[in-house]
Symmetry: C2
């Protein structure tokens, strides 16, 4: 770079973001430097203030400004059905379906032995505590249909099975509107194995 | 989102960055909220402080912390050869080639009639001033080989031609290591038209 230590510093900081390489960081840095001042000010302040305002909900582990979070605190949600997700943004995805009226539990990760992430690194102790309180009837494991997501689901079944709670898993299969011809082998195989009687 | 006004605000601010949609912004926001505090602090502060520390070099228009910039202030650079680029990061690309020992001029844009960007919106008045001072022997227009880059180069040739200065254009052709078979028609056509005698 020609001559810009403040820009170099900004580029270096931006490359610490996931998925942001040096080229993207450079583009963003020059955009920020030339953008209207209120844009960079609002973004910088949001980045500085958000972490301190966010904590984990004591019940479900969701990242939230209120503890307990809005869903756990909502008496019209069914506390007997708990949907287990990998991370907070997954809650928004499930909420958008309008198919679920229960509460959530955020694991903050999946079991990944190769990365050294085991069950003790996940938010599982509080899930076991919630279930042993006796209110929970069903735990729906809504982790991704990936190797890690499946392994984590199996672990949760083993953990909660002895508690007498029903542990279910979201269905895998062809996406709605998808075409058989273009489905990958694993997805189509799963869709056949999990066929439902009409 | 479940319940996070600080996160919503952070997501909204991040989506104002170029190339960052709502999904990317959400991923970045949750990363920032869960990252070590020093990471979000350093990034937020860099974003807040960089714009105020950066200005345009009075001579060449480069975004810089020093005015004149390090290249314009360097007596070992040849002030008689001026390389015209669209934006400050392009300088780093030319510097990496180690093929150029002159100075730069940053246009801060290209002529884009469809977006309402005309010659008066570019840093051209100071280029004309530099050339009319009589020190400049050659102006190399290193804008992209795109429609706008070519149009801007033609405009600069018309602007500076009457000053008796040589106006040249970087060559277009096949990239080094590229394969003829995969070259697009325009590039290959340009490479043939601009063939050099061996």
């Amino acid at each position: 770079m020609a001559d810009a230590d403040a820009i170099t510093e900004l580029v270096n900081q931006l490359t610490r973001l996931p998925g942001v390489g040096e080229k993207t960081a450079t583009r963003l840095a020059f955009f920020l430097v030339e953008a209207p001042p209120d844009l960079s000010r609002a973004l910088g302040e949001a980045i500085l203030s958000a972490p301190g305002r966010i904590r984990r909900c004591r019940d479900c582990g969701t990242l939230t400004e209120r503890d307990p979070c809005r869903i756990c605190a909502n008496p019209s949600r069914d506390g007997g059905t708990v949907c287990v997700v990998e991370a907070t943004p997954d809650i928004a995805a499930v909420e958008r379906t309008a198919e679920f009226g229960g509460v959530y539990h955020v694991l903050h990760g999946l079991i990944r032995p190769l990365d050294g992430v085991g069950p003790d690194d996940l938010n599982l102790a509080s899930l076991l505590r919630r279930v042993s309180s006796g209110v929970v009837r069903e735990v729906i494991v809504a982790t991704n249909p990936s190797v890690e997501g499946e392994a984590t689901a199996m672990y949760i079944r083993g953990l909660l099975g002895p508690q007498g709670v029903r542990v279910s898993r979201i269905a895998s299969g062809l996406p709605v509107g998808g075409e058989l011809e273009y489905a990958d082998r694993a997805t189509l195989g799963r869709a056949i194995a999990a066929r439902v009687v009409l």
